[in-house]
Symmetry: D2
Subunit: 196 residues, 4 copies
Amino acid sequence: MTHVAIIYFSGNGHTHLMAEAVVAGAKQVSNTTVELLRITGDQITQGRWRDDEMLQKLNQADAIIFGSPTYMGGVAAQFKAFIDAASSVWFTQGWKDKVAGGFTHSGSPSGDKQGTLLYLMVNAMQHCMVWIGGTDVNPSSDAPDAVNRLGSYAGVMGQTAPDMTGKPAEVHQGDLLTAQNYGKRIAEAAQRWKMG
Amino acid sequence: MTHVAIIYFSGNGHTHLMAEAVVAGAKQVSNTTVELLRITGDQITQGRWRDDEMLQKLNQADAIIFGSPTYMGGVAAQFKAFIDAASSVWFTQGWKDKVAGGFTHSGSPSGDKQGTLLYLMVNAMQHCMVWIGGTDVNPSSDAPDAVNRLGSYAGVMGQTAPDMTGKPAEVHQGDLLTAQNYGKRIAEAAQRWKMG
Amino acid sequence: MTHVAIIYFSGNGHTHLMAEAVVAGAKQVSNTTVELLRITGDQITQGRWRDDEMLQKLNQADAIIFGSPTYMGGVAAQFKAFIDAASSVWFTQGWKDKVAGGFTHSGSPSGDKQGTLLYLMVNAMQHCMVWIGGTDVNPSSDAPDAVNRLGSYAGVMGQTAPDMTGKPAEVHQGDLLTAQNYGKRIAEAAQRWKMG
Amino acid sequence: MTHVAIIYFSGNGHTHLMAEAVVAGAKQVSNTTVELLRITGDQITQGRWRDDEMLQKLNQADAIIFGSPTYMGGVAAQFKAFIDAASSVWFTQGWKDKVAGGFTHSGSPSGDKQGTLLYLMVNAMQHCMVWIGGTDVNPSSDAPDAVNRLGSYAGVMGQTAPDMTGKPAEVHQGDLLTAQNYGKRIAEAAQRWKMG
């Protein structure tokens, strides 16, 4: 059995929809458990994140997929608070050789999201993890329902133009499908890597 | 009189169209000369770029705007060959305190173009230049004719879906308008910085 | 009169020493006021930073220098919480055309600090600021007392090998001198830019 | 049998010494062949790289380790010319699921080398490869003979202060040892990934 964990923060619900699509993809792979873990503001005191149970679940995973909106060109502060808290794991290299991946969402097509994915890789490399990027590397088109329409490679991007009318968060079909394919790819990679 | 130089490489003509739009914007500013310099393969021998006259023109500029397509996640090799040759200028800090900017183009909306702009900044910082980013930082929309529709901040991005029919290169109106505004902003910034 | 503000977070005191060196450099420039602003954990509630008075001081500055330790390959979460809160300023482009700079510190010579400085640039570009990098771009040597011994260009880096004996934080003389020169450069640039 | 290929460019010989150390490490792993491929200027015509035989060897490898000096904050132009030529492989995703890694060298401890490693990752992700970073993630010290003395995670860094006396290139013992450990790690990872 391979264990895949998705840990993410979502402010307005878009990254949450992306996370659910990643979960759906990972669940397509047999002999795989999938754990969805959401970071929340109330885990953070004086700027420091703490949730020992959540951290324990990550320690038991074979693959960890990191997800955050792109705010002001980087991961959300709440997500970074989790990352900083996981430095306790770094000291003992507790995540060494786990499979890693990442996804992000923002309001415009480019929107500095590549920087967020690069950062997620930087962090994963400090943990000595194995990074797996997106699988739909040849974008089929830039239409809203096309896989990898935005042209992302290191991980998955979603984009939704800001909406001020208060309706529930939505994400383009193409982005959700890309996220789903990615979840499947990570789960398969984790299985292959574990068997090796 | 302020001197603005745009130096760029273009393989398929898209980045060339972006460069022309930057020129058009810079020319809107009074008391400004604009020099458009195109890097070509025949300036490169054994992987090394050389064009003393072109380098001399850059040395005389108050602002240099760097442009390259994004190929395989970075500036084109031909453009990098120019950059490497300009290390001769770096040793004497000949471009210190010139104003700098950058633009890029690729086939998909994100398409790792942020990495290219970041690299152009990295190079400019080694030259101790002053970096000026885009002016249309609040994207008006993600429609093809909207300024900064892609959501780029460090410089300007253009995107055109690959076309295999052999027709001449085209760039979306919104991207060209963004490039034009950027050329104007850089020329104005160079003037202000020179006066100070 | 030119107003320079330094806003930073420091966990163990090293980045604080860097910040003080930047202040010392900026104060060497006549007709300049220097404001040192330290981000603290108690400004953060539920992961969100708030300090209206501090934000107001930044709004009044001509130049803002951003400083953060590099934790797990990026800015500290506490610093990012401030950045995210400043998105309220971004919406109205309240920091447009202010001069910007950055510095960071970590435990090893490279230590993913470049990524932190790049991120600080990314954020500044979203705010449409003018980025000024380091002035000592030709490292004089890699000896502990040499300016820019680490070879940083986009801003200033400091490095101190981790110490577990509990003695007060120290930073190499070369790094502090580099930070001091940088503070002076930013103050001069802000003055020049304001006059222009 | 697992096939590991190292492809690199070296101008002054330092990156070549790093490459040899990577080879030595990979050879420590049983049932592994190691191919050392050096990019040269005479493979480049009009700025375009071509060496079909070399590309063929990469196509047959299970793991590709990319190495380049950091020049002006990025990979050498000659190396980028190779990267751009490999876009022919990208179109058919010929390197998909190969293991990837990278190393770089420059004259100062930080010296914008992180940007080079990040770029190598960006390129590998476009090829849908599996990225494996360094293994010595907890730097033992910043002394010249210590593994990962520079604090690099995404791959391996070497640094040698510029020498103008014309003596043969040298690289610190710690950097070579780190490169050796990395070669071993990549070879082991390729084996594990292939078996899975």
